[in-house]
């Protein structure tokens, strides 16, 4: 067995620092909500659909409340009140707001008890539905054969959900265990979730509830034929994190890209907005039994993978700590890591092995999401195919949880149908060839690999302790993460951060917290 001899004291220090960093945000989580959070509540209450111009009804309602400075109480109260007073369903209330100029704040507020009585059955219904979806997944996972380690994970990204379906089904039949539908370029920055089945996206397909449903159905069919559960993934990321998490929970997605800091650093979304949104989004994921996946790979696509290896470790620990605050269990934390070392580097394989082992050692129960070479993927498809093979080798050797397969055409286009086939063939061959190799091996005494892993850990620890001292927001403002400066009050979506009233109420968050024992 390849086993690192890691400085345990250093591990404790690093975890402690990460805990300090994330626990400094109770003021934020307790005092604020966001428009996305409120829209999520409305969606969970059953509001769906969109105006002709594409604006979703949850946005219409929340915008109306924002305009009327009524949102600090939470959207649930106002809608429930209207339901109660006008004898409508939540959806009908939203439609009246949208089409008939109903002003929710004009309706006098019923008593707290009455509102609760209106809300409770709705909340129960939705939570039951989500729980049923979770249980369905769990049943199928027992019935079908075990998910392998690493699981084979591929992306589809045609822009057209119907082409995606064909390609996802083909991949599943070829051996993929998980399918991620990549989102259209810049969906992250939309402050709403598009509606319905979509066929035009760039570099990916819009994440919509209807698209989720279409793909879920298509994959369930293949799964049944093969007796092999096919995981479906999308992105609860960007300006609509909790909304998409909720949609995923309703449609039985199984994994969600969901990083605590990605939006801040890589999408220039306001830090407070992001942290608030991830807090609720992750709670929904936890409740729905969805495996989250974090985006540490992004650090390495912009910075050097050796020099900045420690930023991955640091981010993993922060992500872990934020996830704990939202009730996510270690076995549902797909922390990220990526194979982005320059292939021109001597002993690139040993470096990578050190980093991959470090991740496994720090998070033994986490289904680590291991990302393929992308930065050094070039137009030479043969060379890229080799990089992918070495990536697959390390994935199997270190038993990562999820292997996001590299595509030989990474530098050229979003994957063609055949690229995916060849990627799966690559992984299947390598996985089989080195299946039990790990059991045959051990690390030599004082190996470079062990030294390197400890070195990265020490750098990460130092970095985390520094951030803990300064505070996360001020560290970000100084550009200490990913060499990008982000200020507490800068970035997109700040206007969607709302200070809560004392009588703010989010019925779903309350129920979930209880269930998750938070």
């Amino acid at each position: 067995m390849l086993k690192l001899d890691i400085n345990q004291e250093m591990v404790s220090r690093a975890r402690k620092a990460a805990f300090q960093i994330t626990n400094a945000f109770s003021w934020l989580f307790e005092g604020y909500t966001t428009v996305a959070t409120e829209r999520t509540v409305l969606r969970l209450m059953g509001i769906d659909g969109a105006l002709k111009d594409g604006k979703p009804l949850p946005n219409v309602v929340v915008d109306n409340l924002v305009e009327n400075s009524a949102i600090p109480k939470g959207a649930a109260i106002w809608v429930a009140n209207a339901m109660l007073k006008k004898g409508l369903t939540a959806q009908q209330v939203a439609e009246e707001v949208a089409y008939k100029g109903l002003e929710l704040t004009q309706i006098s507020l019923a008593s707290g008890e009455e509102i609760l009585n209106t809300l409770n059955p709705l909340v129960e219904k939705m939570l039951d539905h989500i729980t049923a979806q979770k249980e369905k997944r769990e049943e199928l996972l027992v019935e079908y054969k075990q998910r392998p380690k690493p699981a084979i994970y591929v992306i589809v990204a045609t822009g057209n959900i119907y082409e995606d379906v064909v390609q996802a089904r083909a991949a599943a039949r070829e051996g993929a265990d998980a399918i991620a539908v990549i989102r259209s370029t810049a969906q992250s920055l939309l402050d709403y979730v598009p509606f319905g089945a979509t066929t035009v996206g760039f570099g990916g397909t819009f994440a919509t509830q209807e698209n989720f449903k279409i793909m879920r159905k298509a994959l369930d069919e293949v799964a049944q034929e093969k007796g092999h559960y096919i995981y479906l993934t999308n992105y609860a990321s960007g300006l609509c994190m909790p909304e998409i998490a909720a949609m995923g929970a309703m449609e039985r997605l199984d994994m969600m890209l969901n990083d605590a800091m990605y939006g801040i650093l890589f999408r220039d979304i306001n830090p407070k907005r992001t942290l608030l949104d991830q807090y609720f989004a992750r709670m929904i994921n936890a409740y729905a039994g969805i495996e989250i996946q974090t985006g540490e790979d992004n650090y390495l696509t912009t910075s050097d993978a050796v020099e900045k290896a420690y930023t991955v470790t640091a981010s993993q620990l922060i992500n872990e700590s934020f996830a704990v605050l939202s009730g996510i269990k270690p076995e549902k934390m797909g922390l990220g890591h990526a194979f982005e070392i320059n292939p021109e580097l001597e002993n690139s394989f040993s470096y990578e092995l050190a980093h991959a082992l470090l991740t496994k050692t720090l998070f033994p129960d986490s289904p680590v999401k291991y990302m393929p070479p992308t930065k050094f993927a070039g137009g030479n498809i043969f060379k890229t195919y080799l990089l992918d093979a070495m990536f697959n080798f390390i994935g199997q050797l270190t038993e990562q949880g999820v292997q996001l397969l590299g595509m030989m055409t990474e530098a050229i286009h979003t994957p063609h149908l055949a690229d995916r086939y060849l990627a799966i063939e690559n992984a299947q061959y390598i996985f089989k060839a080195v299946k039990d190799l790990n059991q045959n091996l051990c690390l030599a005494e004082d190996s470079f690999i062990n030294r390197r892993a400890n070195e990265v850990l020490a750098q990460a620890t130092e970095f985390l302790e520094k951030v803990a001292r300064e505070g996360l927001f001020s560290a970000m403002a100084k550009g200490e993460f990913a060499e990008i400066k982000r200020s507490e009050n800068g970035g997109k979506g700040l206007e969607g951060v709302i200070m809560k009233d004392k009588d703010y109420y989010n019925p779903f968050m309350e129920s979930m917290k209880q269930e998750l024992k938070l």
């Binding site: 045609t158 057209n160 082409e163 137009g379 030479n380 498809i381 050229i412 063609h416």
Partner: protein, 247 residues
């Protein structure tokens, strides 16, 4: 476009995307790249994109490209020539031969002329067979004579005449400069000259052999990659039985 008229599929129906790679005797620079692109355009491709070029030195450059073809194929117009006899198991073939021919079938096999690749013909003929399918030597209904490697056409025909063979099995693996075509043609011409052509089935096989090519070359059948003894045995048995009926 009709459903029968198909084009390559990259990630969208009929997008026509193809991957290519090739070497040109040009420098590894903008001129070379442009030459590669022009070559593709001239060959009828659109949107030719050179994604990689590597200097092979000595004046050569290797290119990797993606391009869009405007060609399409009407699959409703394609009739492939394939072996049409059903494939029987060894036991079925043995029973079939006993019933319809009432005697053993004699076949003579060889890898002819300069070719020494016997693994293929052995896979068909040897007791042991290939991928857990027994070879003809294990069939009760076959008398299989494997002459091995580098057998001259003359020797093969002489042996076939001597044992009064029902079929000749020829293997050809080396194809450089179309040597397999030359060798296979030579065998058939000699057989014709010697009056043997119609006395027995002529069957060839090898990784670059197809049924179609075999027919073109004047053989009765041809077998390519992934053939098993069952395929050949069934074909021979059924064809001989049919001919017997016709006689």
């Amino acid at each position: 476009m009709s459903k029968n008229i198909i084009r390559p599929y990259g990630d969208t129906l009929n997008d026509g995307k193809m991957q290519l790679s090739f070497t040109l005797p040009v420098s590894c620079d903008a001129l070379g790249k442009e030459a590669a692109k022009r070559l593709l355009l001239q060959a009828g491709f659109d949107e030719a994109e050179i994604t990689s070029m590597n200097d092979l030195t000595e004046g050569f450059t290797h290119f990797i490209a993606y391009a869009v073809t405007s060609t399409s194929v009407d699959i409703s117009k394609i009739k492939v020539k394939v072996v049409e006899t059903p494939v029987m198991t060894m036991e079925e073939t043995d029973a079939f031969v006993a019933e319809h021919l009432g005697r053993k079938i004699t076949v003579v096999g060889a890898c002819i002329e300069s070719d020494a690749h016997t693994v293929g013909i052995d896979a068909i003929m040897n007791m042991k067979g290939y991928n857990h399918r027994y070879g003809l030597e294990r069939y009760h209904s076959f008398n299989a004579i494997n002459m091995g490697a580098q057998v001259s056409c003359e020797d093969l025909l002489a042996k076939a005449r001597e044992v009064n063979a029902d079929a000749i099995l020829v293997s050809q693996v080396v194809t450089q400069k179309n040597i397999h075509i030359k060798n296979l043609t030579r065998l058939i011409e000699l057989a014709e000259a010697e009056g043997l052509r119609d006395k027995m089935l002529f069957i060839c096989g090898g990784p670059r052999i197809s049924y179609e090519l075999a027919i073109e070359l004047g053989y009765d059948a041809g077998f390519g990659i992934g053939t098993y003894a069952t395929d050949v045995a069934s074909y021979i048995a059924i064809t001989l039985a049919k001919r017997k009926v016709q006689e």
